[in-house]
């Protein structure tokens, strides 16, 4: 259980996290979603007391993280940035952390086994691949057998094998009844794992909703219509519950009507249609729409099509 109430973090003039309130409920995966720079990593560091919030409060199982007599027993964390001395072996790194709490050595062996690092546990971490480093981070997070796990973009930069491993791990953690708070900048990651979503953009809370609710609300139907008489058709279609956008000339995207309704309307008004395709907007698009205004640096791309080049 993690409670963040009115949490704000300022770095100088820059507001990284702005008055954010949410709850991570026990026994489920809460996805923490937001574009890059939204403030996810900062929020997670504040949960662990690594960064001090400018205002507000974060509690883990009712107390500030630092006030727990055995913090590793409460929350296990895999942070975004590396947090390992490169000169030490994986085993010695884990043992050093275990010793602070009096966690027995057999538990170190257990987590090493669990993440599949036994072969390389005695090797220096400096030579580890990204995937091995993530495994070591997960081992450290599991050391205290905590009920809550905080994982900051665990699949970022991993190869497909590593991604698959993390997903399986997440599933087994949830099957154990653990609370997982998982950040990502990709909706597709969340669709696979999250029960609940906390979405932020530019440091502000945008949504705090169950995955089911989010899907119901945002997986809207869109119909793509291609016609030489776009202007005329548009005037016919728009209404209180219908929005029409024209991403390019001759193409309309219609929300709020079925393809059948559009076809009949066009036929009755003798408007020729070249294409009529129902499209389901993905949750990824819904997420992008939601956070668009909040994206810090939107990328302006000049799209050069083959046609204009030839």
């Amino acid at each position: 259980m993690i409670d963040a109430v009115g949490v704000t973090k300022r770095y100088g003039d820059r507001v990284a996290v702005d008055d954010v309130t949410f709850t991570v409920r026990p026994g489920a995966v809460t996805g923490f979603l937001g574009p890059n720079g939204a403030g996810k990593s900062t929020t997670m560091r504040m949960i662990l007391g690594l960064d001090a919030q400018t205002a507000g409060e974060v509690r883990v199982n009712g107390k500030r993280y630092a006030d727990h007599p055995a913090p590793l027993r409460e929350v296990g964390a895999l942070l975004e940035a590396k947090a390992v001395h490169t000169g030490r072996s994986a085993y010695n790194h884990l043992l050093a952390l275990a010793l602070t709490h009096g966690i027995p050595r057999r538990r170190v062996d257990e987590v090493v086994e669990l993440v599949g690092l036994r072969e390389v546990a005695r090797k220096r971490v400096g030579g580890f691949s990204l995937g091995m480093g993530q495994r070591l981070g997960v081992a450290a997070a599991l050391l205290g057998d905590p009920h809550t796990l905080v994982l900051d973009e665990p699949v970022n930069g991993l190869d497909p094998e590593g991604v698959r491993w993390i997903r399986q791990l997440l599933r087994s953690l949830v099957a154990d009844g653990r609370t997982v708070f998982l950040s990502s900048h990709l909706m597709s990651e969340m669709e696979l794992t999250a029960d609940h979503l906390v979405i932020i953009g530019r440091g502000r809370l945008i949504a705090d909703t169950s995955m089911a609710e989010f899907t119901a609300r945002f997986s809207r139907k869109v119909v793509r219509v291609r016609t030489p008489e776009g202007g005329a058709l548009r005037d016919l279609l728009v209404g209180p519950d219908v929005t029409v956008t024209a991403p390019e000339t001759g193409l309309l995207e219609v929300h709020g009507l079925t393809s059948g309704e559009i076809g009949q309307l066009a036929c009755r008004n003798a408007i020729p249609l070249e294409e009529l395709t129902p499209v389901t907007a993905s949750l990824e698009e819904a997420f992008m729409d939601l956070t668009q205004d909040a994206v810090e640096f939107s990328v302006h791309q000049d799209v050069l099509t083959e046609r204009t080049a030839s």
Binding site: G27, A28, R45, A83, L95, L97, P104, D145, H147, G177
Partner: protein
């Protein structure tokens, strides 16, 4: 969809014991393990050994062979203890770097976030690092100071210019070399927490220890006589003077106390900043 199992039902092999929690002693145990699980610790301790014993022996040997050619003034000022302990000058660089590195090595690699995540009250980490470092360094430098002293006296004895450990002020000077070196390292630990970058902390430490006295000498004489004795390394090195000048502002132990005061300032400042700043 998510099964809610109680803790006992979880498939984590055997349950963990009940007394798991962070204590100062456990954080020290962790720091002890951290120290001995890095190769650089062994290299640095070996370098301290070589600096103290190797250079002490070398200076003693050179002095012995040159003795008959030395002018009477030089011979009158000759101090067999100081010659055998001369390696401290180099050793302080090595020990200082070691003290800095046990802290800044964690900042440069990001390890500090793991350390503070495991001991989020933070102060126990600084205390554990300082205590573990002080114990290890004091033991190693005491042994090497005595070895350097006895080796030096053995080499000087060929010209019957040696002294004995029982002579006035000698034992204090030998133990003092170890104490001085240990406190240099502790100052490095404190500055490591203040500055957090390896290069910056090493530069500050040696600026304080080596550059300040040189600047002090450039002061007008009436200022210099009042200020120079209180500069950190000048004060600290009094403890190694076998025949202290009774009219000096700071004697061996008062000088060393002043030096400890500087190291304490660095550590306290480091502690305050460690508590306040983001990791």
């Amino acid at each position: 969809m998510t099964a809610t199992l109680t803790k006992a039902q979880r498939p984590s092999a055997a349950p963990l014991p009940d007394d798991i929690r962070v204590t100062q002693l456990r954080v020290m145990h962790s720091e002890w393990h951290k120290f001995w699980s890095l190769r650089s610790s062994y290299f640095t301790l070996a370098a301290t050994l070589i600096a103290m014993i190797g250079f002490g022996g070398l200076f003693a040997a050179v002095t012995a062979t040159r003795w008959t050619h030395m002018r009477p003034v030089e011979q009158a000022h000759f101090d067999p203890t100081a010659v055998s302990l001369r390696g401290f000058y180099l050793a302080q660089l090595v020990v200082g770097v070691l003290g800095v590195l046990i802290v800044t090595g964690e900042y440069s690699t990001g390890m500090i976030r793991s350390s503070l995540g495991a001991a989020p009250r933070r102060l126990p980490v600084l205390i554990a690092k300082a205590v573990v470092f002080a114990v290890i360094t004091l033991v190693v430098t005491t042994v090497t100071a005595f070895v350097a002293f006895f080796l030096g006296q053995y080499l000087l004895s060929s010209h019957h210019i040696e002294t004995t450990i029982g002579a006035d002020g000698v034992a204090r000077a030998v133990v003092g070399a170890a104490l001085y070196l240990t406190v240099v390292g502790l100052m490095g630990v404190g500055l490591g927490f203040v500055v957090r970058s390896t290069a910056g902390a090493i530069a500050s430490l040696f600026g304080i220890l080596l550059v300040l006295p040189v600047l002090g000498e450039a002061l007008p004489t009436d200022w210099a006589t009042n200020i120079d004795p209180y500069l950190p390394s000048n004060a600290g090195q009094q403890i190694m003077v076998v025949h202290p000048d009774p009219s000096a502002l700071l004697g061996p132990w008062s000088g060393f106390a002043v030096f400890c005061g500087y190291a304490a300032i660095a550590l306290v400042l480091g502690a305050v900043l460690l508590r306040r700043r983001d990791a």
